[in-house]
């Protein structure tokens, strides 16, 4: 149940207490998608903790029911990603990419949560030929950091093909758990 407080995490990054760059030979172990006996899809080893699906190491993941209904966090991740002011204006609809920024459905295939968090919080500037690509540092943006796990769960689901490119069906999704409500309120302040 331990949800990492984002403020501690951001502080850890700020003090360099995190190793952000994954070395080429240390390809992250990202558990593959599995289909559970009830027909739902999630990552191997995931468990349901009161409506939040979590891997043994504490990393959040997605859960997609047989009828396509999403767990709250994955649905919330879609909303934050697809917000008119969200990630999609550069990274394209449903993580498919655009001329401004890469397709996250591809990037996430080999990117673990720690690396993802680091890039989103600190930003990244990349030069490719004559073009400079700027991923802004969003570490101070609560609309992102308060929901960074949600966004990760959505993109993880997209990258593994469990979550489709369309707007999730609001009728089929899980209701918003109380702990999500409480966390949102605390995080926004």
């Amino acid at each position: 149940m331990g949800r990492i407080r984002f403020s501690l995490l951001v502080a850890a990054i700020a003090f360099g207490g995190f190793s952000l760059s994954a070395k080429a030979e240390d390809a992250p172990e990202i558990p593959p998608m599995v289909t559970l006996p009830d027909g739902s899809k999630t990552q191997e080893g995931a468990k349901d903790e009161d409506g939040k699906w979590v891997l043994p190491d504490g990393t959040i993941t997605y859960h997609v029911k047989k009828d396509g209904g999403l767990d709250w966090y994955t649905y919330s991740g879609f909303k934050r990603y697809a917000d008119v002011g969200g990630c999609q204006q550069c990274h394209g609809p449903a993580g498919k990419g655009s001329t401004f920024a890469p397709a996250l459905v591809d990037s996430l295939k080999t990117m673990d949560y720690g690396t993802f968090l680091g890039i989103v919080a600190s930003g990244r500037i990349r030069k490719q030929g004559a073009t400079t690509y700027v991923m802004p540092a969003l570490g101070d943006d609560k609309n992102v950091m308060c929901f960074i796990e949600d966004i990760y769960a959505y993109l993880r689901g997209r990258s593994q093909g469990a979550v489709n490119e369309f707007r999730p069906n609001t009728r089929l999704r899980d209701p918003k758990p109380d702990h999500a409500r409480v966390y949102e309120k605390e995080c926004f302040g």
Partner: protein, 606 residues
């Protein structure tokens, strides 16, 4: 090739009675029918060319005369301008400007390549568009994405002066075309999606020195309004008209961005423009101190100001307490002597994002007509035009379509029009031949789900996810219409598969021309909408059709290069076809027709 004698007489009389301007170079330039000196064609925003060599009878034989690749991708809004033998072309970010010599193989005489920090790109909500350069007094004026306003020598492309209008680190960016009025160049600020309290600023065209700045929201001294003299709906606005319609300090994040095309009445000496949405898109977070709707003036408003001082003559707010992102920024088209309801008025006509077309007396600011210019508009049953009524001037909101009443994290469904409006920035045109307006419209509805957001300077402050689709039971997403602004009626309407996201051109040859999102350049007969010419260009069109004359030949031209909000934002949140909840957002279908591009196509008779 004849310039219409009628148009010549009209311009001559305007010059005689206009107040003396230190710089009237643009008016001289505009009076030459071969030119297209400013984005709007003229200060009334008619977008009407008096050239008539190309007409409804011979348009079928139009051919491509020449083409030019801009070398840049993403959405190409605006159009080139032509002054004598020079064409000036602009591009999306990084906002390159080309000067071409029409006398010599359209060769590039000079090219201006701004150096802009690419970190401004993530701060642009709706693609890296630019709505065009302007010419005045031998200078070219460019408003860059990073908010630098630059004056270039039109002959050499050398930078004469540069001034910084805002700060992208606060979410302030530039996409609009400036306007030059006399010795002042006016430019608006974008950033309502970033919690910016936006503003219009005027600079001296010779020195770049700031003359005045008027905010859309704030104390009277900031919004440049006189509580006793600035009017709205026939009454003085009174003290603190803006801040008393906001909750506490929220006006400081107020929005009210200004990025459409502007117009100017030289006789009244008023510049007209519209302001955009309040910040955030989640209306629940903008509620008044009592938790109820609160107007949020002067977002969503038509403003009339003195261009030398910025002082406001009148305001009219079209969508108080916005719940759908119906920005009021679209252009104001000025027409004289329009007969409306038995009396004659000098009006402005404005096709708003909210689906209503307004005919307003441009001296008093009194709305005379406000009618839906797409019958599917469903968020409101109408605008109250009874001066005696308590809700005078206000739209009546349908509760089921109120994203505020339905609340945060609730998906309000089937609102028409979608947030991109029945028309967005793509400008309409007027024809004195028919007295009608030719309007490029969107026929799109939406689901809108607000969510809670927190403000951080320089970061998006939106808080809504959308999905957009054609109206229920229909499959087309655009209409090209002819509109009678004195009665508020559609005269003819042509279906288009996608939104008509292109500025319209009208001509003395009886044509109305525009581009489509799949990339067709089309011309119709102004009288009945009959298609008289169609030609496919390399990419979807969101630019504005224009016309110029050179060495006895008339040319039509348009920029291709799909993008803008139509090109990028609309593919997000597509409804799953298997959901049975509604049609898939048809913009997915646009990918079957076009990729990104960047080019100018020019047509003429053989």
């Amino acid at each position: 090739m004849r310039k219409s004698a009628f148009a010549g007489a009209l311009v001559a009389s305007a010059v005689l009675v206009a107040p003396a301007m230190a710089n009237d170079s643009t008016q001289k330039c505009i009076s030459d029918a071969n030119n297209w000196c400013i984005q709007q064609h003229d200060y009334a925003g008619h977008r009407y060319s008096t050239l008539d060599q190309i007409n409804t009878k011979n348009a079928g034989s139009l051919q491509v005369a020449w083409t030019f690749a801009t070398g840049v991708l993403r959405g190409h809004e605006g159009s080139p301008i032509v002054v004598g033998n020079r064409m000036f072309l602009h591009t999306p970010f990084p906002n390159i400007v080309f000067a071409l010599n029409l006398d010599d193989e359209n060769k590039i005489v000079w090219k201006y390549t701004p150096k802009q920090d690419p970190s401004v790109i993530p701060v642009m909500c709706c693609d890296t568009v630019n709505r065009g350069v302007q010419w005045a007094d031998g200078k070219i004026f460019l408003y860059q994405a990073d908010t630098n306003l630059v004056a270039l020598d039109a002959n050499t492309g050398k930078e004469l002066w540069k001034t910084t209008n805002g700060d992208p680190k606060r979410g302030e960016t530039g996409t609009g075309a400036p306007i030059v009025i006399g010795d002042a160049v006016l430019v608006g600020m974008s950033g309502a999606e970033f919690g910016v309290n936006c503003f219009m600023t005027a600079y001296d065209i010779n020195t770049g020195k700031r003359l005045w700045r008027a905010y859309s929201n704030g104390p009277d001294s900031d919004i440049l309004a006189d509580p006793n003299k600035t009017m709205s709906l026939g009454k003085p606005i009174g003290k603190n008209s803006s801040i008393k319609t906001w909750n506490g300090d929220q006006w400081k994040l107020g929005g009210g961005s200004i990025w459409g095309y502007y117009s100017w009445d030289p006789k009244l000496n008023l510049v007209y423009y519209g302001t955009g949405n309040p910040s955030t898109w989640n209306p629940v977070q903008r509620a008044g101190p009592d938790g109820k709707a609160i107007d949020q003036k002067w977002t969503m408003s038509i403003m009339a100001r003195n261009p030398q001082t910025g002082m406001a003559s009148w305001f009219y707010q079209m969508t108080p307490f916005d719940e759908w992102d119906f920005d009021g920024v679209n252009e104001m088209i000025l027409v004289d002597n329009m007969k409306v309801k038995g009396s004659t008025h000098n009006v402005l006509v404005h096709f708003d994002r909210n689906g209503f077309a307004y005919t307003v007396d441009r001296k008093s600011g009194i709305p005379l007509v406000a009618e839906k210019y797409d019958p599917v508009v469903n968020w409101s049953t109408g605008v109250d035009l009874d001066p005696k009524s308590k809700t005078y001037g206000r739209p009546a909101v349908v509760a089921a379509k109120s994203t505020f009443l339905n609340g945060t994290d609730v998906n309000t469904q089937n609102i028409c029009p979608a947030a991109l409006g029945t028309k967005d920035e793509q400008p309409a045109a007027y024809s004195p031949l028919t007295g009608l307006f030719y309007v490029p419209t969107n026929h799109v509805c939406m689901d809108y789900e607000p969510q809670k957001v927190s403000y951080t300077a320089g970061q998006p402050y939106v808080g809504a996810t959308l999905s957009m689709y054609p109206p229920k039971g229909e499959s087309h997403m655009g209409n090209m219409i002819a509109w009678d602004a004195s009665t508020g009626k559609i005269v003819w309407s042509n279906k288009e598969q996608f939104s008509v996201w292109s500025g319209v051109l009208t001509t003395a040859g009886g044509l109305a021309c525009a581009g489509t999102l799949e990339g067709y350049f089309k011309c119709w007969d102004q009288k009945d909408g009959k298609l008289v010419y169609k030609n496919r260009t390399p990419s979807g069109i969101i630019g504005n059709a224009m016309s110029y004359g050179h060495k006895g030949k008339q040319y039509l031209a348009i920029l291709s290069g799909v993008g803008g909000w139509a090109g990028i934002g609309l593919a997000a949140g597509l409804t799953n076809p298997t959901d049975g909840l509604g049609a898939v957002g048809g913009y997915a279908g646009l990918n079957a027709y076009t990729s990104l591009g960047g080019s100018l196509t020019v047509w003429s008779l053989p």
